[in-house]
């Protein structure tokens, strides 16, 4: 849940603990990662300004967007950056990451341009230096936000990026840290590396999966349109006590910004699993009751001492009584065992409990799942 993430980041790290770390992960099918990043950023920074967090400042490392965009964003959220410039500083890796420009126009005193993004160790030093410049040295903590680690991964090796993030995470002055990642730009193992480094992973997924290879399908286009405004937001928390919580929400993109709402009822999902055919595959209430009342063969229904009469369809009911006492070589196995058990009634009983009453028809449950060999 988006709120829980912001609270965890706001609370920061306890003494001797690694800083809470969030990875925001999206893909092209559900590209709302930047908007979620903006939301978390503004929430965290408001908390820092309001004094609700042990973190005294925020360093924003911007790769994908211009620093002026962020200054504008915070201004629009009602945060007066001018009066708060002692609390936020932006490390500008957007305007001239590789040193191609001859001269840089300085935007504001809250922005420092960084021109060597290929060198992760220099980046690390700059971040720490800026943070210390903002909050001072010693034990005072600050938070870090990284616009997107994709640019870092494109320009440096996975191991050096992982080293930088891990060092930041374990630094004694870092209160919390979060970053954005576009998962489909990298191999799965790279995404996995970053997820292992994080205590929280927030992933954005499309509400409806598009069928592959269906180009030009009008239905596919309708899904594309739907997915451009809505999506699913899954969060995986690693708690301090070692447990892992997974929570889900729905996310909507609106003019006013991003909105998180609880998931709609599970029924909606189940209906999606039932194939759309012309037959009615559901049961009505009456049909359900009738089904429960059916007397099934080969089950002991006679619990009041009366001998059980199971009609096997071959002989009349009257004749079967005479046959019962005699042990006959009957090829029907089930009936034989039943009739034998009848004669053994004095000695023992076979009690049969159906264990599949709770199971819905067409359920995907594998009955062997709980085998404990």
């Amino acid at each position: 849940m988006a709120k829980s993430i912001c609270i965890a980041l706001r609370e920061g790290a306890l003494e001797g603990e690694l800083a809470p770390t969030l990875t925001i992960k999206d893909s092209i099918a559900s590209p709302f990662g930047l908007q979620v990043f903006d939301h978390v950023l503004s929430q965290l920074f408001s908390s820092i300004l309001a004094g609700k967090s042990p973190s005294q400042g925020l360093i924003l490392v911007s790769f994908s967007r211009s620093p002026s965009f962020y200054l504008e964003l915070l201004k629009n959220k009602g945060i007066n950056v001018a009066s708060s410039d002692k609390r936020i500083h932006i490390l500008d890796c957007y305007n001239d990451p590789l040193g191609w420009k001859d001269q840089i126009v300085e935007i504001s005193s809250t922005v420092t341009v960084f021109r060597e993004v290929k060198h992760m160790d220099k980046l690390f030093n700059s971040i720490i230096e800026l943070g210390r410049g903002l909050v001072g040295g010693g034990k005072i903590r600050f938070s870090i936000a990284i616009d997107s680690v994709d640019e870092m991964l494109r320009r440096a090796s996975v191991s050096s990026v992982a080293r930088l993030l891990s060092n930041l995470r374990s630094h004694e002055q870092i209160s919390s840290i979060f970053w954005l990642l576009h998962s489909d730009l990298h191999k799965a193992r790279v995404t996995a590396v970053l997820e292992y480094l994080s205590s929280m992973v927030a992933s954005l997924e499309p509400s409806h999966q598009l069928a592959n290879g269906q180009r030009g399908d009008l239905e596919n286009f309708a899904l594309i349109e739907h997915n451009s405004k809505k999506g699913k937001f899954h969060v995986r928390f690693k708690k301090r006590n070692g447990r892992v919580h997974v929570m889900s929400e729905e996310v909507h993109m609106e003019q006013s910004g991003i909105n998180f709402t609880p998931l709609t009822s599970e029924g909606a999902i189940n209906q999606g699993l039932v194939p759309k055919v012309q037959f009615n595959l559901q049961l009505s209430e009456k049909e359900r009751i009738d089904k429960a009342n059916v007397v099934l063969p080969f089950e002991h229904q006679g619990d009041n001492g009366k001998p059980l009469q199971i009609y096997d369809g071959r002989r009349s009911l009257v004749d079967s009584k005479h046959e019962r006492a005699v042990a006959v070589e009957n090829v029907q196995t089930k009936e034989e065992s039943e009739s034998e058990s009848e004669s053994d009634r004095q000695r023992g009983e076979i009690i049969y409990y159906r264990d599949s009453d709770d199971e819905m028809p067409d359920s995907d449950e594998d009955p062997d799942d709980d085998l404990d060999i």
Binding site: P97, L98, W100, L185, H186, L218
Partner: protein
């Protein structure tokens, strides 16, 4: 007729709004086409719109695919003289067909050519009168050939595009690129297309119809406009001097 029939495309791009001299300013437009459906007609269309809309609009055309004479011929059929526009300082043509990227030369790397190109573009825009600086379109035809010129290094091309994007923040200019979707089929190659898809504010896909070839309809366009949170899909037919866009089933012919 000319104005009306292209309106679906203009509408999807936001060009139907008369209030601004160049509504695409500050935006990145990425066009993805295929062998069966070439997307260069969109570049011509946008170039024409930029020139016709307002006299202070300037276009910088970076051509890897065709020489100047080709574009001059195409635009002439649509009623625009690129030579006079170039002389008036409204159209700048960077002929990259002659760009050599020497490998192994002292101090010059495959990316060096792109760094120099960026510098040239920046200088050109800075030298413009202030009113035009706000209404510049940078058009690149096309990215796959730029990659070839950079000796196959998509990283250098992405770096160059990043710097062009900083131009959209600095000067509010628009960046329009063309790339081919079907040449990237391997695992490594497809991330370049994804990078462009993430970078773009407006993504235009030019594809053939799902049902195959047709005489009346050349293909379909899918325009995803992130800024307006809107997606549009319609068919098109490229004619002698214009392109006709219509919803499925409503071709005028």
């Amino acid at each position: 007729m000319n104005q009306r029939s292209s309106n679906l495309l203009d509408e999807a791009l936001g060009l139907d709004q008369a209030s601004e001299p160049w509504p695409l300013k500050g935006r990145v437009v990425a066009i993805e086409d295929r062998v069966e459906t070439s997307g260069s007609f969109i570049l011509h269309h946008l170039l024409k719109r930029s020139l016709s809309r307002n006299s202070s609009n300037v276009s910088i055309f970076i051509a890897f695919a065709q020489p100047f004479s080709h574009y001059d011929r195409v635009l002439r059929k649509q009623g625009w003289n690129l030579v006079s526009q170039r002389d008036n300082g409204r159209f700048f043509f960077f002929d990259m067909l002659k760009l050599q990227c020497p490998v192994g030369d002292e101090g010059i790397t495959p990316g060096g050519g792109l760094i120099a190109l960026y510098g040239k573009i920046h200088k050109t825009i800075s030298a413009l009168p202030e009113i035009s600086q706000k209404n510049v379109s940078i058009i690149i035809d096309d990215l796959s050939l730029m990659e070839v010129a950079a000796n196959g290094s998509s990283d250098h091309v992405l770096d160059f595009l990043h710097y062009c994007r900083t131009l959209t923040s600095e000067f509010d200019c628009s960046l329009i690129t063309l790339n081919h979707e079907d040449i990237y089929s391997t695992e490594d190659g497809s991330t370049f297309l994804l990078q462009m898809a993430y970078l773009a504010d407006i993504l235009i896909k030019v594809e053939p119809l799902a049902t195959g070839l047709a005489a009346d309809v050349h293909g379909q366009l899918t325009v995803s406009n992130k800024g307006r949170n809107k997606a549009s899909n319609f068919h098109f037919k490229v004619k002698e001097n214009m392109v006709e866009c219509f919803y499925p089933g409503r071709s005028r012919d």
